[in-house]
Assembly symmetry: C2
Homo-oligomer: 286 residues x 2
């Protein structure tokens, strides 16, 4: 059992991304989190749109919760004008939804290589070009897009931005109050330069979100749904939290775990386990 103090300390920082308890509807998520004392939630566009963006914003606000991030915009690597225009339109809609939900953070997954392409550098440049169009629109609405580097195993089909250094190289083309980055332990834990890059991100005020999941093996087919509950894997989560502390990040820490084994369980059990794991593996000092 987690002591009262540890639980309070956890709840002061914890945000629960709705993917962690995907078995819950949006109202169940909001009710469950409010009841447990969780103060922040990370939402995804699909379930928000299904519920209605304005209604979702009201639901969360009325429960006293805040939306710490909206996932996700991005997929900006299309080489053809029509694909690029469609992606930008979709991203402007994502900005509008983030603004309506009252979150300043729109997480961007930049997109993979178009079919048949092999030019990673070119794809990364197209992301930068598209962001230059999106950023003013977002800034006018009080939303800061945040580039999330994804693990290199997603470079072909999901995200050509694979390291925090690459994400910062892209983000730093724009003012810090207009473009952030996401630090996600699942994607970055293997990288021996990540401590230096977290410091760089903090020094320039770029850390828009800090997300947690553990790394467990074997990876499942497709490698999308194999993230581990905090403490079950190889990631030194406390080390990451200490690095973001040292970098001056004081915002919410979002737990985002894609794992069907969690989704088969009772949502309240998973939420309580997550709070306990967060207190034990993320917050306690060594």
């Amino acid at each position: 059992m987690t002591g009262t103090y540890a639980r309070e300390a956890a709840l002061a920082r914890l945000s629960v991304n709705q993917q962690t308890v995907r078995q819950w509807t949006l109202p169940e998520l909001v009710t469950g989190c409010a009841k447990a004392g969780v103060r922040g939630v990370g939402l995804w566009r699909g379930p928000v749109q299904e519920y209605g963006t304005a209604a979702a914003a009201r639901l969360v606000r009325d429960a006293g919760l805040s939306v710490t991030s909206l996932c996700r915009g991005g997929f900006l690597t299309a080489a053809d004008p029509a694909g690029r225009a469609a992606a930008l339109e979709n991203n402007r809609a994502a900005v509008d939804e983030a603004a309506a939900l009252g979150t300043g953070t729109l997480v961007l997954v930049c997109g993979g290589l178009p079919p048949g392409e092999k030019d990673l550098r070119g794809a990364r440049e197209r992301v930068a070009d598209a962001l230059a169009e999106l950023v003013p629109y977002a800034a006018e609405r009080g939303v800061r897009p945040a580039i999330e580097p994804l693990h290199p195993m997603y470079a072909a089909d999901r995200c050509v931005v694979s390291t925090l250094a690459q994400a910062l190289d892209l983000a730093e083309r724009f003012p810090a109050d207009r473009m952030g980055v996401v630090v996600d332990t699942y994607h970055l834990w293997w990288d021996d330069s990540v401590a230096a890059q977290i410091a760089r991100a903090g020094a320039t005020g770029r850390i828009a979100a800090f997300q947690l999941a553990d790394w467990v093996t074997p990876l499942p087919e497709g490698v999308l749904l194999g993230r581990g509950q905090l403490g079950d894997g190889s990631v030194d989560l406390r080390w990451f939290r200490e690095r973001t502390d040292a970098a001056g990040y004081t915002g919410p820490i979002e737990v985002e775990i894609f794992n069907p084994a969690l989704w088969e369980r009772d949502g309240t059990d998973v939420l309580e386990e997550t709070i306990e794991r967060f207190a034990a593996h993320v917050l306690h000092n060594r």
Copy 2:
């Protein structure tokens, strides 16, 4: 069809790792390669030991082939003395086998995190410590161990060395004629620093082997057997060959593809396809 000139150019550089045609026994591999005009083979310890190391050496030599590399030593991350001693003994045996086969290149897969551990940095240091013991033994026998950085998706369970920069950082603790690195496109293609690191490896004479496989998705469960035939995926193989050329590497280029779909086919068909793909996707200039 591949023209005579293109085929000859391919055969001048191509080595076939036996994993690419795993359906073949060692004698079938040697006969098949010799018949096709392939001059180099990359071997694995398991099938070599099964056939008998001395007999395998004779078989390859009598067919006029050379062994371009032996896979693999490594797995040097054990934290306990007994585990470390057993790993070193195993690696000394691998050195002996490489020497018997007449190859100077023993590929090292460094090993993952021991169960329950989260300290990547510590595991990498233990690799360096163990290598300091192994290197003199290998040098006396004319064998140069070569550190192969594996894709970051293997960092937990297979290899804590995830980038060419990390491999070089380790290798450069030893003289260049005693410790090399492996450049494998499958593991390194996503990394935007790889061009600079290939140049670094070439400038210091560290490139001991250059291996090819393409990156195809979706990845299979366990992510071990999902490598693509040359040209089927996202990797700009020609770009890699040009970078190793520019770095001064003139040695064999080994095709190492772990893919059950290839193993279900006739070995000669796979070999001929590999030669054609090599000529078309690796050698031709733009």
